[in-house]
Symmetry: C2
Subunit: 703 residues, 2 copies
Amino acid sequence: MKKLLSAFFVLAAVVLHAQQITSPDKNLVLTFGLSAKGEPTYALTYKNKPVIKTSKLGIDLKEGADMLEGFTVDKTAQSSFDETWSPVWGEEKTICNHYNELLVTLSQKAEKGRYINVRFKLFNDGLGFRYEFPEQKELTYFVIKEEKTQFAMAGDHKAFWLPGDYDTQEYSTVTSKLSEVRAKMKDAVTPNASQQTFSPTGLQTPLMLKSDNGLYINIHEAALIDYSCMSLNLDDKNMVLESWLTPDAIGDKGYMQAPTQSPWRTIVVSDKAPDILQSRMILNLNEPTKYKDVSWIKPIKYVGVWWEMITGKSSWAYNDLTSVKLGETDYSKTKPNGKHAANTAHVKEYIDFAAKHGFDAVLVEGWNEGWEDWFGKSKEFVFDFVTPYPDFDVKELHRYAASKGVKMMMHHETSGAAANYERHMDKAYQFMVDNGYNSVKSGYVGDIIPRGEFHYSQSMINHYLYAIKKAAEYKIMVNAHEAVRPTGLSRTYPNLIGNEAARGTEYEAFGGNNADHTTILPFTRLMGGPMDYTPGIFETKVSVYNPDNNSFVHTTLVKQLALYVTMYSPLQMAADLPETYNKHLDAFQFIKDVAVDWDDTYVLEAEPGDYITIARKAKGKNEWFVGAITDENARTAKITFEYLPKGKTYLATVYADGKDADYVKNPKSYAIKTIKVNSKTKLDQKLATGGGAAISIKEEVKK
Amino acid sequence: MKKLLSAFFVLAAVVLHAQQITSPDKNLVLTFGLSAKGEPTYALTYKNKPVIKTSKLGIDLKEGADMLEGFTVDKTAQSSFDETWSPVWGEEKTICNHYNELLVTLSQKAEKGRYINVRFKLFNDGLGFRYEFPEQKELTYFVIKEEKTQFAMAGDHKAFWLPGDYDTQEYSTVTSKLSEVRAKMKDAVTPNASQQTFSPTGLQTPLMLKSDNGLYINIHEAALIDYSCMSLNLDDKNMVLESWLTPDAIGDKGYMQAPTQSPWRTIVVSDKAPDILQSRMILNLNEPTKYKDVSWIKPIKYVGVWWEMITGKSSWAYNDLTSVKLGETDYSKTKPNGKHAANTAHVKEYIDFAAKHGFDAVLVEGWNEGWEDWFGKSKEFVFDFVTPYPDFDVKELHRYAASKGVKMMMHHETSGAAANYERHMDKAYQFMVDNGYNSVKSGYVGDIIPRGEFHYSQSMINHYLYAIKKAAEYKIMVNAHEAVRPTGLSRTYPNLIGNEAARGTEYEAFGGNNADHTTILPFTRLMGGPMDYTPGIFETKVSVYNPDNNSFVHTTLVKQLALYVTMYSPLQMAADLPETYNKHLDAFQFIKDVAVDWDDTYVLEAEPGDYITIARKAKGKNEWFVGAITDENARTAKITFEYLPKGKTYLATVYADGKDADYVKNPKSYAIKTIKVNSKTKLDQKLATGGGAAISIKEEVKK
């Protein structure tokens, strides 16, 4: 307590009008204040250790006086909130939303008393705060030049970072100290179909940090609605991160109309890494859903005509023309290239496979006219989303799939031509409804049209939400790839069941992902929402499918199984080809069994960049699943079972790396065994280099 | 002939591979050639006088080698074409399309034989030519950096010009020599809601010119489709005009996919001014319509709730809030401002007036939520096009109007937020169909959203056509204000029945139009298509409606009548208020009688900037109408009647300026008399300063 008081007085000495709140468990302390110049500031400590040193808040406007200084505090209000709510789908059946709130109203005398609010919500797992702009005479329309929210770091933390970019999130994570970002940036910016860095020390969020004194700190945003997506720019002299918004085509960073607000800036904190993964703060900061009927929203396990094109074995395109014009090119008169995977007979094979193994849906990419010249041409009328190739029989495949209890999953690649997508969207969604599709994977590969806008500009943030809301009118679930990384919007819009928005499994076929890639992603990308990571690759050598492609998946086969547990998603793909699964049906059984919706989640052990071990209970069933993964270092996972009801015995089928497994040299070596476990069992499970372990647990049925 | 041959040899000496064609009547001679550097050139003479001196052609590309030089002629082809066709509506029942054509195929050896076509069509009234980009291995996708089409003038011509601008066409025409453009530009660029000049000698098209040796020359474009709108930049040292396209948000000037083509660049020529107005070349250069059913497309005479807001007497807005949010602001709970003209009772008065006097439709602006803050805020979700104000009963007004045989005319002000309009367009058009509307006036007041695009960028050209084509699906006619000036597209899309795209009658209430304004517009703005000029203002002193507005209409009352004949449009508004018309029903009779669709048109006399006298025969009726207008100079119009069938007598009702009429001091002085005329009659009709005369002619019915 003494320490707390002295810390308070120290802070109070340098800031005026200091206000303070604590988290419900009192571990976190937020201090708000004003500098001598009237600049709003905040600071955050966790168990008396600094998380955020005194940092400035404010907004720089395009015209007129800024919202940066000259503030006085008009009033403050403190309150508390405590509820439990149930998501439509998620890692838990119920989520606890408990915080203490501080609402500060600030005004600028020099601006005729123009006032704003800053609202702080302090949870046990972290802090969320946002700016609010109430409607008033002195404030209706304003244009943001830059947001100036600082996050002053208490040290040269270890960081798991991606280069800040207006157009792509698909870089490999770099692990380094903050002071090394500048030197490592050049190599980190690998080529992408659409990219735009902005600073030699620019970083994306979610940003994961670890301090020397053992604090895990994650910085991101929640409820990104009608605002520009935030990146961070690092002042690597002072170790201060500052918000850096995405501009529009003319360089402005936000068109605002009061009353309105910024998204929540989120800082998740703990001294235990698993707490970061168990934080639901970002969801809690989003609004509850207003959807009345959510019965049409269901998690999906699917297969798809996709990996065979990603590897280069097949093609999306129907023929080899270099240029087509939709509505003018008569495809029936062109010569098929013989490699088009999305043909009726071949898709039926996938449907048969899905039906046989209990999958919900089959995704088909390359089903529609336009793939011959879709990429890299800034072509506007690139797809119409409703015209199939001559060899893809929409109605027959709908009938066939339905007869087998399988859904077809639609694919809407937009090629970044968002305006074109909007022109066709109603027809495209109606086409889906008319032909039995209830879910769509959308994509935004390539530079955005309207030209000059970026993937994370305010206009595109609005576009993505427009697509989700309109989809809900048609009872369609959306899985948006290359869209902005999620910020918990699925609470409000639960038909947003997935995003890619990071470097996914496809990159294993484009040179490979780092061995530690998926030990980082839950600490970064997944903080804002689930990822359609599309794991399940059993044939890790891509050259088996395409002799010209020497990429390989940087995991063992078993680690691919574990990913179904460690990479939470309500949308899970078994991404490999049926012919490969048929060779390993014993291992494939785990993918068939694993749930995609959960009653509860237990992060048993985790360290970003090194390992993760998670157990989950399937929703509404007495089944549990455990996934353990490691990076390039072999290790022994410490798997415990305290979450199993006491006094019962369970059968655990353990899918393990073989003794000689090695993600480079011997990835497909695995062993499956069944053991009995109960709540007291402790299992030391060896994981190979780049390996993992997967366990499915069910009650022992006594005869 | 000798002169022609020597001219040819002179040209041939300086250009290689000279090709020549003549117009059917041989007055115009086009010469195509290549410079020593392989730059394509063309030149045009009329009756041996130079119209266009040898001028370069070509396209500058963003990437790779340009299409400017290094060409050789692969082949040429000459042909002729002669047809008569009937427009759905127009100044004539039939139009003659007769030209000689030269098609030149040029290739660049250095670019692996990449080839383009230049196609010249030479009519009796002028030259049209365009670039064509056939699909080939060396040319599919390309981005235009600038088109480099020159129009080398043979002298320092008199020009009737507007400042070149990417966003507005609403400047007052400046009449000066080309050499004076630079000095006069600053004063010419008057303020506008959205504007962007690009050069101190930039000019818009249509551009009207008159040479010292009596040639009338008009430069414009035809069939502007999927291309950037062309302005001209004047090199005022050499008197060379060069094409200057409108950029997009990132500075590019055209995203192209072969096979494709540029619009036609048009040069209308004559030594008689009336021939310029009688030219139908721009329509002839457009494609015939593919619409199968055009029965729903009909010319419209209308009144509207509009001028009372333009003058400031009433408001578009329902209340006086400074900021509203559609779907959130509950209008029924706000305090009406008491000046909202678009209310049910008041609109019924207009409907009554329309029904009583035989008008087809009533336009209502300000009927829908959003007018409180629609302007100047770059607000994106500014209108939804379907939600009426609380005092505007859509269904009741539909019923009432229908019961009286009157149509309601819809208004879609977009505020330049084109992307927002597209999001709502299907719903908006369906709402029209559901509520009995078959025509819409659309508007684009303010800067464009997507931000950074301009009103005349390629993306907006595509948007305007998208709106027209989609309207046709709903059998809706479109009258687009602030959209790009027309280029004859109405031939292909006859539901485009109007544009504003110039300084219209509304500016009479914003300070006034020049007294010669409408003696110029037919030679400039109207060359590409009709204008919804909305004349018919009888109360020329705006202060009568709004004491705070001292603007006055710069014409006499009778000149307003004449405009219904001299300003061709299939869409004609009687723009003043019913209460004013009721005071002058005798003069109003002309507006009631005047046709809006024509069998034939006769330009009796005309001089750009000075006077126009036109006679027209109503479509399918034995009625003729004459309009004569002058500028600030009083004059005597020489009105003849040779177009009347011989041997019959006709009754001509002559609406004339009073003896003491004066557009400033005594605008409302007029006299109406009926006289008998026949085909031999010659009428010297006095026009006051800023005045006119209007005549309606019908057969004498003998008892």
